[in-house]
């Protein structure tokens, strides 16, 4: 974990309520895709945990959806402003355990962490398929960006307005044979993937956090291997340990 001051270099809308922010600062504590950062915002007491979408050199990219006071404030920030950010939080995905044909599944704002993961896996020679799930076409973002990395991309929308109609599980048969699944999204989505598949799988969970670095134990969940803090021992848990 590191605390650093980051300068916003870009903050743009990708859809009506989903924004991409690029920041410059010391990213050296970010060691694995699937980790998150925790952002201090003026006038709000607790930091806001946001997943890392990408990191390259000194540039950190995050994608967030406006859901409350914190993300609302972020959406109004401009290039040149600075943010106090804790980086390198959480375990992230273990790249050595995903096999040669990983399937990455993101639902809504669960899509962004899959980008850094896909990039690293493709750079190391893996054949990556990505399923992105959204409610409707106007919520879809980053399809082209994933394709530009060289990933095979399958989009699902609940209303059928783009790609395959239905939830992300509807696209799993299209992915063919895969070596493992890495997923991030709402818990019902994770549970549906868990039930529909039997390959090794890694699921990234969300929980209300106090500190984000393991001290307050506010975000603890029960697993088959004992209590785990989503912020420190997670957010990525393996299929074997999850208790639904």
């Amino acid at each position: 974990m590191k605390q650093g001051i980051f300068e916003i270099i870009e903050n743009v809308a990708l859809t009506r309520d989903t924004f991409r922010m690029k920041l410059q600062g010391d990213t050296s504590a970010i060691t694995a895709p699937g980790q998150f950062v925790n952002i201090k915002l003026d006038g709000l007491f607790l930091r806001r945990p946001i997943s890392v979408c990408d990191k390259e050199g000194y540039t950190l990219t995050i994608i967030y959806k406006v859901v409350g006071d914190g993300t609302h404030a972020m959406a109004h920030m401009r290039a040149g402003q600075t943010l106090d950010i804790l980086t390198g939080l959480g375990n992230g995905y273990d790249l050595t355990r995903v096999g040669d044909r990983p399937l990455l599944i993101g639902g809504g704002v669960g899509v962004p962490p899959m980008y850094y993961l896909a990039r690293q896996l493709i750079e190391s020679g893996k054949k990556v398929t990505v399923i992105m799930g959204f409610n409707t076409e106007r919520e879809v973002f980053y399809k082209q960006e994933f394709e530009a990395l060289g990933a095979r991309v399958l989009v699902t929308t609940a209303d059928g307005s783009c790609g395959i109609r239905g939830f992300v599980t509807a696209a799993i048969p299209e992915a063919g044979e895969v070596s493992c699944i890495c997923a991030c999204g709402p818990e019902p989505m994770l549970k549906a993937i868990y039930d529909a598949t039997d390959v090794p799988a890694y699921f990234s969970f969300e929980e209300r956090m106090g500190c984000g670095f393991g001290a307050c134990v506010g975000c603890t969940c029960k697993t088959k291997y004992g209590n785990k803090r989503i912020c420190k021992d997670g957010p990525v848990l393996t299929r074997e340990e999850i208790i639904w």
Binding site: M1, F45, L46, C211, F213, G214, A215, C216, G218
Partner: protein, 303 residues
Amino acid sequence: MVNTKINLCGVTLDNPVIPASGTFGFGYEYADIYDINVLGSLSFKGTTVEPRYGNPTPRIAETASGMLNSVGLQNPGIDKVISEELPKLRACFSKPIMANISGFSLDDYTEACRKIDSEEQVAFIEVNISCPNVHNGGMSFGADPKAAEEVTKAVKAVTTKPVIMKLTPNVTNIAEIAKACESAGADGVSLINTLLGLRIDLKKRRPLLANTTGGLSGPAVFPVALRCVWQVYNAVSIPIIGMGGVSSSSDVIEMMLAGATAVQVGAANLVDPFACKKIIEDLPREMQRLRIDNLSDIIGGAH
């Protein structure tokens, strides 16, 4: 050169700053980012006889200038704390340790205190009779002078260490509880634990916390804490550890002027993991600015 040393129940601390229980784990998460030996002492995560998961999640909610928590004393139990957590803490911390002990019955308190008593580096036992997040435990002892007295007596009988009773502000008269602890032999009191609070999710029209209520902490509670320390200082002669929303070196001095001998820092650690270190580094500067040579000279100085 200013002197930040204070004497707490016969133990000299390099400075009065102590991370509050439940906000600092067993120290090692913070030791990854700074040398925690700068701390005066460290109050570790509230420990019970049996392991506890605590309450269901969500158990954190934000408030104006603070937060609610309903963790509910999650801890691995006293035996594992002694066999696994304390060795890890000792590896990164050589200062006096404050053991925070909680319970649901007199036997719980005495069993846990008896076990921790033989730990050499434990310099103080802080007995939590004020947790608002567990039923039938903690706060019920701290809300009644007779019960507070009974726990104090029982714990004093099984330990050789200074006993500090941690009090709740969720009472009509906190000074009366402090007096009961003092008369039962307590070596000090620490206050305040969190204030019972509630938040509601407007969309779901349900409480934000799965446990419905939670304990309020953070800068929002600082004036309440200060008032409690003031009242207790007027009522007892044993040392007081002041806490509740402390986030700066000037807050530390204000707490001490109200009557605190030492000061705990809680919620601030969760937002800024370097909070205690920064406060300790700022303290000499703030003392010079206010023309304080010896920090211990100002205890109760506003009375």
